[in-house]
Amino acid sequence: MLVNQSITQSAFSLSSTDAEIAHFPASTIASDDQLIELTLGGDEMAFESLLLRHHRRIFSIARRFFRSRETVEDIVQETFSKAFFSLSTFRRGATFEQWLAKIAVNNCYDELRRRKKRSESLITELSTDEEGWLQIKLSQTAFETHFNEAEKGIAAEISSKLLSNLSIEDRLVLTLLHAENNSIKEIAQLTGWSEAKVKIRAFRARHSMRRAFQRLRKAEERKLRVIGEISR
């Protein structure tokens, strides 16, 4: 909870109107550290500059975990609010964006835990169409998978179901690894877990997904065999 954070800062006054905000401060020259100092001194425009400089990255992280725009915005809002109240604890010279990303990942993790819903079985989860689509994809020989615009929707739906079968920790690691292209070391820094733990989680998550794919593939092979026998 924000209330429990121990930072007491000058109140973030809300004097600026939308019109004022519309011409965002052009503090592009100032470094993050300088903007942080200004924010801590009570300059709200400096915090706006920080916010506008880094919000895309935070949006990007939140979008990897949640598809609802509202939830994504909640995560972004909570991340920046927490960052504002903990700004004095930020170590100067460190990467501010990485620090923000860490807060965002923790927020996503907390939200995922809140929403923890486990499915009983993968096969019953995926619709027949989805299974068929996945089987076609698995039988392809191209090594690099790309989805066209029409396929993106179904891919996202299948992905959502497959990911929901994983534990929250496994899902977090897999998403940061594949969607955000973070290294094991970076994930360890973002989550605060040890590299060994991240590796184990990654291995487990990939193993679980691979098993689901293999199960589908075997089902397809069985179906083809039966069709072959009938036709003979």
Partner: protein, 158 residues
């Protein structure tokens, strides 16, 4: 490259460049099993990525304005809540409370120590008053105490 090496790499190395590796691709072309492994790895990566991509909407500058306002409102709300809550009072007074606590403990420890020292001194002085500082003389000298038997008494007893 052998099948075992490909399998080991695909299962333990998570870098995106791996799938594009020329060596792995050339091996997978001639091996159905490794081909399948590579397809699965690639599909898994693409699916996980697609989850976030599908929710990516067009970004308008108005979103930035709205976001800034939203965050500002949130910060103001938290500030207002903090200003009127007991938590703030406790957080604000935390250092003082800690200082007072430490002082109280220190005083207790010191008073306990002084009390012990005082009682030791008292015990020592009591002991001192009971024992004669010229005890050596007392041993040498004939008894002056009326309670103790004198030499004569002991002779008479014999």
């Amino acid at each position: 490259m052998t099948c075992r090496e490909v399998k080991r790499l695909l299962r333990n190395d998570y870098s995106p460049a791996l799938i594009k590796s020329h060596e792995i691709k050339s091996h997978a072309r001639s091996c159905a099993k490794c081909n399948q492994e590579l397809v699965i790895s690639s599909l898994m990566r693409a699916l996980v990525t697609s989850y976030g991509d599908a929710s990516a909407n067009e970004h308008s500058p108005w979103d930035d304005v709205r976001l800034v306002n939203r965050i500002k409102s949130r910060i103001r709300a938290v500030n207002e809540y903090r200003a009127g809550s007991w938590d703030t009072a406790i957080i604000g007074a935390r250092r003082w409370l800690l200082a007072f606590g430490a002082m109280a403990i220190l005083l207790l420890v010191l008073s306990g120590r002084f009390a012990t020292e005082g009682s030791l001194d008292q015990a020592a002085s009591d002991k001192g008053s009971r024992s004669n500082p010229n005890w050596g003389e007392e041993l040498v000298s004939t008894n002056s105490s009326p309670n103790l038997p004198s030499d004569e008494d002991s002779d008479n007893a014999h």
